[in-house]
C-alpha cells in the first residue's frame, strides 16, 4: 500500500461516513455535519494528490483545498442560518416532518 493510497482510503471512508450521516439522520443539522465531513474528505484527497502528484510547486491541489475550506465555511454559515430559519417557522429540524411545500 502506498502512502497516497492509504490517504485516499481514509478519505473515501470519511466521505462514505459523511454520506451515510447525510442520508440516514433525521436532523437537518446532522445532515449539514455529514456534508461538512464529505467536503473535508474531498479536501484530504486534494492535499494528498498535491503532495504526491508530479507538480507540487504548482500548488493546484493546495489551492483547491484552501478555497474549498473558505467555501465550506460560507456553506456552513448559510446552511445553519437556513436551519434556524426553518426551525423558527416549523418548530422542528426533523427532515421527515418537513414534507410539505406549503408553510
Amino acid at each position: 500500500m502506498t502512502p497516497l493510497a492509504s490517504y485516499l482510503l481514509v478519505a473515501a471512508l470519511v466521505f462514505a461516513i459523511g454520506l451515510a450521516g447525510a442520508l440516514v439522520r433525521r436532523n437537518a443539522i446532522l445532515v449539514l455535519i455529514g456534508i461538512e465531513l464529505m467536503l473535508n474528505a474531498a479536501n484530504l484527497n486534494f492535499i494528498a494528490f498535491w503532495r504526491y502528484g508530479p507538480h507540487p510547486e504548482a500548488l493546484t491541489g493546495m489551492m483547491f483545498a484552501i478555497f474549498s475550506i473558505a467555501v465550506a465555511a460560507a456553506e456552513a454559515a448559510v446552511g445553519l442560518g437556513l436551519v434556524i430559519a426553518i426551525y423558527r417557522h416549523a418548530q422542528t429540524t426533523d427532515l421527515d416532518k418537513m414534507n410539505r411545500m406549503k408553510g
Binding site: L23, L59, M63, A74, T93
Partner: protein, 166 residues
Amino acid sequence: MSPVFYLVSAMTVAGALAAVLLKPLVHCALAVTVAFAGLAFLFLSLDAQFAGFAQILVYIGAVAILIVFAILLTKGSELPRDGVFSRSWLAGVVISAAVFAALGWAILRSAWTLPHEAAVPAVTVHDIGVALVDRYVLPLEIVALLLTAATIGAVIVAMHEKEGAK
C-alpha cells in the same frame, strides 16, 4: 506508513462515525470536532502546514462553534421521541456502502500504479500568498464575493422576523 498515521486516521474515522451515530446532537458536534482535528493532523502529515492550520482555525474555531450554536438555538439538544434515524435509513446505508465500495475498489485497483514516495514539496506560505494574488486571483475575488454574500445571506435568513410579518 507510520503508526502516527494509523492513530490519526483511526481518530478521524472514529470521530466521524461517532458524529453520525451518536444520539445527542451536542455529542455529535463534539465528535465531529475530533474528526476535523484528525483531518487537520492528516493535512499536517502531508506537509500542508497552511491548509492544516486553516482547517483548525476554520473548522474547529468557527464551523464547530456554529454547529453548536445552531443546535442550541433549535433545541436540538433534546432527543426526539421517534428515533434519530430517518425512515429511509437502510437505503442511505446501502448507498454510502456502495459509494465506499466503488471508491475503495478504484483506489485498490490503482494502488500499485500510484506514485510511491515524493520529495517534500518546498512550498512556503509566501509562495501560497503569491499564488493567491497572482495565478488564483480570480477565484480569490470570487471567494471574497461569496463570503460577503454568505454573511449577508446568513444574517438575513437568521434575522428575527419583524412583528406583524407573521
